[in-house]
Amino acid sequence: MSTSENAASEETQGTTGSGVTRRRMVGLAGAGAALGAAGFASGFATRAATAGEPAAKPYDFFGEHQSGIVTPAQDRLHFAAFDVTTSDRQELVTLLRAWSLAAERMMQGLSASDEETSYDAPPADTGEAQGLPASSLTITIGFGPTLFRDASGKDRFGIADKTPKALRTLPHFPGDKLDVHRSGGDLCVQACADDPQVAVHAIRNLARIGFGTVSLRWSQLGFGRTSSTSKSQETPRNLFGFKDGTANVKAEDTAVLKEHVWVGDGDDAGARWLAGGSYLVARRINMHIETWDRTSLREQERDIGRDRSQGAPLSGGTEFSQPDFALKGRGGEPVINARSHVRLAHPSANNGVQMLRRGYNFTDGSDQLGRIDAGLFFIAFVRNPDTHFIPMQNQLAKNDLLMEYLQHTGSALFAVPPGASRGSYVGAGLFS
């Protein structure tokens, strides 16, 4: 773990530097087709981009940690949870190998497969990302509790004794109105990119590769990251109009990552394979947009605990000033309400724990009452959900003034293995 911090940063995460874009591939693919499709997708994989095209800087799928955790949060998300439909351990391993290979290729801006394609067969890659650059695509794969044991407790793939002890279905929190069709899953794939088409392409191709082994259980599109995972990024805004993620753990905070995000070597003797990985908490949080929009700015700021324009804590200063929860204003009342979101989510109210949030805004059209079906798809990476998420969520669900405007409709927890080494696959440690 000693070098994990460096490995995690963008600079050292490793890029192949090939800079190949799918745009370049289009012309070559055309040529390939003219030659009877011989060598489609295989002849140009390592070719450099032509001069004049902006050098894409793809992330490497392989590395000590998986991509898509401390990688600077991209603008778009396609998150998918799958059910494994096979009971054959080898088929599952084969799938994870295939996914790892395809993920590695797509993150380089290549097609999902380097297979030669007959003109009489459907193309191996679905094609909608041809001509698009790598777009900072990252792919993160996780394992849900139901991968290890089914509902009746049966060991599905001979890995039950390696179940991480904190990997369970999240408890019901006050106010939860969970939709079973937006919760749980045996596997998850988080695809993030700067271009929605690239993220969707990734999930679509992984789902396609998985047909027969897995089936898509639910998925969520996200736009507009709601946190910064690097100090180089501006703090974005959530759909409540407030800056979100000001105090998030950043890739540069290597010591904090080690303490609060990466599972340590000695954390779980029964699940050593997870060391260097993390836990991914996913929560679909609907916002009552319409009632929020009818709320006075006074109450909005009180509920959040920050001012809307600058994101400064109501105790004063600028965006990155530390909130002063003890500061009292008129009448001896704290100027940051004790039930404000910033107060209750602050490490000082949660035994000092922190999490790396990677959420996205979402809008899934509107519901039958004409209300915008929108909110925040919350994703957090934590070292241990029992200490780093569940107590906080209980506290927020119970006391957070914002809860009046929120409804949690989806919930899932996954163990995210460490990154795979080149030539291997994500989760190899679990199945070895």
Partner: protein, 382 residues
């Protein structure tokens, strides 16, 4: 519960007479800027024409500051903005007729403030001074307090009857009284919910429970009276008695506490808005009465409560913003008309008897009213 408005925890401006609107949104040109530091209170101009004045107050000091516009006697507060923490900017919006005034910053919130003379010249507009509505405010708040007391009286009476029927195993009669009794709760819901201890024990829904929380109150009884078809174990007579007695005790506590409650106009206005929010998030979706489906009774109760709050504030609003008054009144009438379509005798159709189109129509009417109603607080404080 957690999702609901806590009327009494909203940091209320003290009373209309000393209120100022604060806003971060930029307003039209001509604003005055104020920079408050430890020893200075720099106002960008020492005079302004009569009418609406906007002071944008920035705290460049290290302590919390406040800003006041004081009348010529240096005592009467025309407008104030409090809790301006370091580096933040807050707006004070006041109506000021021509005359002599003082501006004053109070860094550290102590002392008599750093004062300067300020002149409001005659712009020719007729301006009603902020803070001249004391009588109207007193009337509105007194009437509202009386209304809350009356509703809790009726709630207590009907809850007693309901609890007795339920305990006695007269379930049909208890079911018939459930929604009519709750109507009184729903009419004053934002007030009732302001008691953080009573609301969870009286009105919690099953999904809202915290880990380890014992479920009590109306909705637990509701489930027992309208049990799910499968997998439900009816409560024992002893459990029913305990549950019913607890509801009565809680209602008595609520009754006692509301005897002495007082209200400010912004609380009444926010309460009206909050009641409509309740309709929009819980009633029009059928989530409130998951077992009995008597959501439309609650819906009517919330609308009644919102309407009474609005009616009490109407004399103030008609002076400050007659267009808004008309808009809100019209939309209350329209909403009631839609609701009336579903009346059956003294009550309503069940939520499950409504078509999707009918629910959408109700929802649209709620939205149409909620939008102008959300402006009520700022308007009566203007």
């Amino acid at each position: 519960m957690n999702r609901r408005l806590n009327l009494l925890t909203v940091p209320a401006v003290l009373a209309l007479a000393v209120s100022g609107c604060t806003s971060n949104s930029p307003s039209a040109g001509g604003d005055l800027t104020v920079t408050s530091t430890a020893d200075k209170c720099a106002v960008s101009a020492s005079s302004a024409p009569s009418g609406t004045l906007v002071f944008k107050v920035t705290n460049k000091g290290n302590e919390i500051t406040e800003f006041y516009l004081l009348a010529q006697d240096g005592l009467r507060i025309v407008g104030e903005v409090e809790n301006i923490t370091p580096n933040l900017t807050r707006d004070l919006v006041v109506q000021a007729p021509a005359g002599q005034y003082f501006t004053s910053c109070k860094p550290g919130m102590v002392g008599s403030g750093i004062r300067s003379a300020f002149t409001v010249t005659d712009s020719g507009k007729k301006v009603e001074a902020s803070g001249d509505d004391k009588k109207l405010v007193a009337t509105a708040t007194t009437l509202y307090a009386g209304y809350v007391k009356d509703q809790t009286d009726q709630l207590l009476t009907k809850t007693n009857q309901f609890a007795a029927l339920y305990k006695a195993g007269k379930f049909d009669q208890a079911r018939a009284l459930y929604a009519p009794a709750r109507l009184h709760w729903e009419r004053i819901e934002t007030v009732a919910e302001s008691f953080g201890d009573l609301d969870p024990s009286m009105d919690a829904r099953e999904a809202d429970l915290e880990p380890g929380q014992v479920w009590t109150g109306w909705h637990k009884i509701e489930k027992d009276l309208w049990p799910p078809k499968t997998g439900y174990k009816p409560l024992t007579a002893a459990e029913r008695t305990k549950l019913a007695d607890k509801l009565v005790t809680d209602t008595k506590t609520l009754h006692t506490r509301t005897r002495t409650l007082t209200y400010t106009v912004d609380q009444i206005a926010n309460g009206s808005k909050g009641l409509l929010d309740e309709v929009a998030t819980g009633k029009v979706t059928g989530e409130e009465e998951a077992w009995s489906h008597t959501d439309l009774w609650d819906f009517q109760g919330n609308v009644d409560g919102a309407r009474v709050g609005f009616d009490n504030l109407r004399p103030i609003l008609s002076k400050k913003d007659p267009a808004l008054e008309t808009s809100i009144a019209t939309k209350f009438t329209a909403l009631q008309k839609v609701l009336d379509k579903h009346k059956v005798g003294d009550g309503f159709k069940l939520y499950t008897q409504l078509s999707k189109g009918e629910i959408k129509e109700l929802s649209d009417a709620v939205n149409a009213l909620s939008e102008p109603l959300s402006k009520l607080t700022a308007a009566v404080l203007k």
